[in-house]
C-alpha cells in the first residue's frame, strides 16, 4: 500500500470531496429560484464536478 492508497489517505480524500460537494450543492440551491427533483439531480452532478476540480486544483498547486 503506497502512501496515497493507505486507508487513512483515501478516507481524507473522500472527506474533502464530500465537504466540497456539500458546499457546492448548497451554493447551487442558493442560486436557483425554483427547486424540483431535476434541479436537485443536475445540481448534485454539477457540485460533484466542482468538488473533483477543487481537489485536483488544490493537489496540483501544493503537489509541486
Amino acid at each position: 500500500m503506497t502512501r496515497r492508497t493507505a486507508p487513512r489517505a483515501v478516507l481524507l480524500a473522500l472527506a474533502e470531496l464530500l465537504a466540497w460537494w456539500a458546499a457546492l450543492a448548497l451554493l447551487w440551491l442558493v442560486l436557483i429560484t425554483s427547486v424540483d427533483t431535476l434541479e436537485r439531480i443536475v445540481g448534485a452532478s454539477c457540485a460533484a464536478v466542482g468538488a473533483l476540480l477543487a481537489r485536483a486544483g488544490r493537489r496540483a498547486v501544493t503537489w509541486r
Binding site: 451554493l27 440551491l29 442558493v30 442560486l31 429560484t33
Partner: protein, 150 residues
C-alpha cells in the same frame, strides 16, 4: 421615480466617472487600482438596477460581475507584475470605502427583499464582491513578487 434606480444612477455616474478618469491618467499602479475599483462601482449598481426594475433574474449579472471582476484584476496584477514591482500600488482607504459601499447596498437590498433564498443569494454576491475586492488589492500591493510577469 424609483429610488433604487436613482441610487444606481448616482453610484454609476460617480464611480464610473472616477474609474474612467483613474484608468486613463496617472501612473500604471493607479490605473490598475482604478480598474479594480470599477468592479466595486458597477456591481452594486447592477444589484440596485435589479431591485429597481423588479427583475430578480438580473441578479445573475451582478453575480458574474462579483465573480469575474476580481479575476480580471488578478490578470493585470500578474501580467503587469514587472511594471508594478517598484511601485507596489496600494490604496487601502479606497478599497475599504468601496467594500463599505458594497456592504451597505447589499444590506439595504436584503432588508428590502426580506428573508428567503434570494437574500442568501445577495449575501453570497456581497461576500464574493468584498472578498474579491480585498484580495485583488492585496494582489496589486505585491502579491506577485517573484513571478517575473509569467
Amino acid at each position: 421615480m424609483n429610488g433604487w434606480i436613482l441610487a444606481a444612477t448616482v453610484g454609476l455616474g460617480g464611480g464610473g466617472a472616477a474609474a474612467l478618469w483613474g484608468v486613463t491618467t496617472g501612473s500604471p499602479g493607479r490605473r490598475v487600482i482604478a480598474q479594480n475599483l470599477t468592479t466595486s462601482a458597477v456591481c452594486p449598481a447592477l444589484l440596485l438596477l435589479s431591485q429597481g426594475y423588479g427583475r430578480p433574474a438580473y441578479v445573475d449579472l451582478a453575480l458574474l460581475m462579483a465573480l469575474l471582476g476580481p479575476v480580471g484584476t488578478l490578470v493585470f496584477a500578474r501580467l503587469l507584475a514587472d511594471d508594478l514591482a517598484d511601485e507596489r500600488p496600494s490604496a487601502w482607504g479606497l478599497t475599504w470605502a468601496a467594500a463599505g459601499l458594497a456592504a451597505a447596498v447589499v444590506i439595504a437590498l436584503c432588508v428590502a427583499g426580506g428573508p428567503g433564498r434570494a437574500m442568501v443569494k445577495l449575501l453570497v454576491i456581497g461576500a464574493l464582491l468584498i472578498g474579491g475586492n480585498v484580495i485583488a488589492s492585496r494582489a496589486l500591493a505585491g502579491g506577485f513578487r517573484e513571478v517575473r510577469g509569467g
